[in-house]
């Protein structure tokens, strides 16, 4: 059986995707209209990483999971009421902005400092998890930079599977054409940027939640402020990705007809 891992999941919150997201220029620069007041969720890409981390930790006894998060701590606290019920983890927080208008390198620097501050961290057993992408910005660069800053050269992006195989890990990364690049990782440390993974969202478990909150609340209270932004960057234009929501309520339509309609739409 493999030695225990210390899995550090990096990620933060994003506005609930069902909300109206409207870019707006405020005194502190670009953001979303009423961003602070919009309900937030854990970035879905990070959520996959967290659930996979918890699953891996369960398979390798002695492993532990730490969630490192940079975000406004009051909003993080709210999100933790839901997330903390999903899996056991410890939390390290840096209090700062989590929107889509911060620079990946600055975020990575703050996260690197936060990871390095984890007491008793054994980097030789470190698996650095995170989202391959993000629901707030799609640069896909933060985790890679973070890995570099921490001196981790084994990096896997677009991961859908990480399976224990004796002392090593089998890792599947997405490549083009729906295929996977399969690798074997003999030893940590490594960076795994998760795609969707393969696990469903775990059900809520209030007992786990209560257990987590004993550590989460002190972590939030002692969150250090972090100054991140995008100093010197000028945004020439800001707009949401074009989206179309054309909902029709249709009942009793055969599956074949639905499939045909979707195929026609794609062709068009």
């Amino acid at each position: 059986m493999s030695q225990p891992y210390h899995i550090v999941v990096c990620g933060s919150i994003v506005p609930d995707p069902l909300q109206t997201l409207e870019p707006a220029l405020g005194p502190a620069g670009w953001g979303l209209k009423n961003e602070l007041q919009l309900p937030a969720v854990l970035d879905p890409w990070v959520a996959h990483a967290l659930f996979e981390a918890a699953n891996l930790a369960k398979q390798v006894p002695g492993s532990k999971v730490t969630l490192v998060s940079l975000g406004p701590k009051a909003k993080l606290q709210q999100v933790m009421m839901q997330v903390a019920q999903k899996a056991p983890f410890e939390l390290v927080v840096r209090d700062g902005p989590a929107g889509g208008f911060v620079d990946a390198a600055e975020v990575a620097a703050v996260l690197a400092e936060a990871v390095n501050s984890i007491p008793g961290l054994d980097k030789s057993r470190l698996l650095l998890f995170g989202g391959w992408q993000s629901a707030s910005r799609g640069a896909g660069a933060t985790l890679q930079i973070l890995g570099e800053l921490l001196g981790i050269t084994e990096q896997f992006q677009g991961v859908d599977l990480c399976q224990v195989q004796g002392d090593s890990l089998l890792i599947k990364e997405r490549i083009e054409g729906g295929s996977y690049l399969v690798s074997e990782l003999a030893n940590p440390p490594a960076v795994l940027g998760w795609a969707t993974g393969s696990l469903p969202e775990p059900p809520n478990n209030p007992q786990v939640g209560m257990q987590n909150m004993r550590l989460v609340m002190p972590a939030l209270q002692k969150a250090q402020p972090a100054k991140v932004g995008a100093e010197g960057v000028t945004y020439a234009a800001v707009e949401l990705p074009r989206q179309r929501r054309e909902t029709r309520v249709v009942k009793d339509v055969p599956v074949d007809d639905i499939a045909r309609e979707i195929a026609d739409w794609i062709r068009s």
């Binding site: 609930d16 069902l18 909300q19 602070l36 007041q37 839901q82 019920q85 059900p203 809520n204 209030p206």
Partner: protein, 689 residues
Amino acid sequence: METLRTLPGDDVRQIMWRFADRFDLQMLVQSTRAVARSVAARLVADGQRTTHEWTAEKASLLTAMDGAGVTSMFLEPKYGGYIEGPKNLAMSLTAFELAWVDGGAATCALASDLALAPINEKGTEEQKDFVFPNICPPQPGEDREIWRGAFALTEPLPYVGVDTGVLVGKVRVAEWEEGKEPMLQVDKRGRFITNMEFANFVTAAVASDDPRIKSSCIILLLKDDEGSWDPGAPTKKLVHQLSATNDPVLNVKVPASRIIGGYTVKDGVIVPNVSHSDAIASVFTRTRIPVGVMTSAKLLSAVEPVIRYQRQRFRGGEAAQPGSPRYELGLQMNEDPCHRLVDVWATGEAGASLGFETSRICDRFDALEKGKEALLHSQGISGVRAEAKALKAVQDKALAYLAEVGKPDGDAAIIADAEADVLVQFLVHHAMTGVLIPSCKLWNTGFGATMMREAVSLMGGYGITEDCPGFLGMKWMDAQLEATYEGPESVQRRQLTTTIDQPVFLALCRNWTAELKAIAADRPATGAGALAASMDLWMWALDYLTKSKDPQGKPLFHAKRQGVSFAMADAVAWLMAARCQLLDVLELEAKGPENPVVADGLEGTVQFFMDLFTVHAARTAGEVGRIVAELVLGYLQPEGDAASLPEWETYCNLRCAVEARLAGCRLAKDRAAHAVTQVMIPEALDYPQ
């Protein structure tokens, strides 16, 4: 002018409803919401409300609630729960989240708690140890069936009606061997029993049918007990179909140790330690509140779908081009739909405030009640009359305490002494709950159902279709049943009749009125002044009606004269709801700055909620004024002159004081209506339709 920016989120609600420091409750809210807006909503959207049968699909709701901790919410940690202490606020929050989507799903959760409540409130430790560990869902590695309960009280009396004081369920001694535990034969036919389809235990109210058993009791029945266990046919409810309701026929033999609260044997007679009426009084004291909260949840849940419907009403038509007011605002270009939505919203806020405040008071009351019982027991005082006598003895102290509390510079020693006195605090809280609980159940569901109709009307014909977002038509009908659950409106009014004229409650009222006047002095543009004046008017009217007689010489305020007493009960419910609403807004104003999320835009949020309160306070003033006018003047001789009323001048002054303080209330409504046109709403509902 700053106004409400987004629909109020969890941060705002946690402050207003006072659970910002309760992480256990915040987690409960999140996990219950996940069940409501996924499993429960999908069941409704898939048409599961169209059948009375308990289907496999509906049963998935139970599994989801087990997983989310809703089932184990009621339990103490030592039995596998995760919330320590009283659960009234927890139950109300659970009911709120589930009823936001479907009242039946909420009832399904509450019915389990109702079955457990007699054991929790009056059961012996052995009974708790026997039942509670089985309620908790099996943990990994455990192989056992989860116990699910039903509470069987109401009786099958077709064409006669039901009366909780008259029990058809009977209990007899089946076997009683010398030196052994007596075995009892229980014959119980229930009617309209929620959860019965899948219940494997029932807490049933039964009366003695045997001279060897004294009085009635609540008794625990298990599905595996010897005898017959017929869950009965499903009730053909028009509403709440996500809860299983049946008319069971149970005839089982059980040991006497199943009598809730235990028993003693005196002179060869089994004497239950707790009668069924004592047990249900204690149970219903608490469980009525979440039912009231359920209806308020419906009203608040209607806000988002109504706004979306109003704004999008003309989109797609040729005359509504993007950027035009017709396209952006839709029906909200007009004042009326916005004003009506403000009324719906204000009612929902007031009901929720009343429900959660009552729940919090009950959480405190639970400990006081236990403390009172322990103290009286230690003094050798037992029995209803002896207890009443002991409590009567401290009433003067309670009144003296409230008098000091009501003064700006009250005697600190008297206050401290009374606050440390369990019996005094019990009396004060008893007076509060005696009015607040029935008010919540009565007003939230009764007027709530009326306003739910208004919400449905704002959706036009869409409102009464299955496709209506937010299931508003179904919620309207559900509200009507909620007005009936756990004692119909007349039961609540009857209870209020006996509690609203009690000296301790009236002393509380005087203090509350003084507080409202102080608030009004600081905030003259709010409805606080109108509310204070309405309370003054109501108290004067109660006093007048209590000492006055009609032309036939019959007393006006009398328990049997429901035309008067029930109307005064209705009025007090309006007042209680409005007061609680104001207190929540003030709490938000005071604590909001401490939370950076809430602090952002707090001025607009508080202004909006205060405007909603002012709108509601004005309506309250109108209702109270109407009721008082009808009662005070309506029993004078028709040919007489109203001015001949002995206290005509006082009455006129009080009425004028109310109406003078309505100044600005429509300006507040205009502001709230404007906010409704500006507030950001999500792109789509977060549950299916």
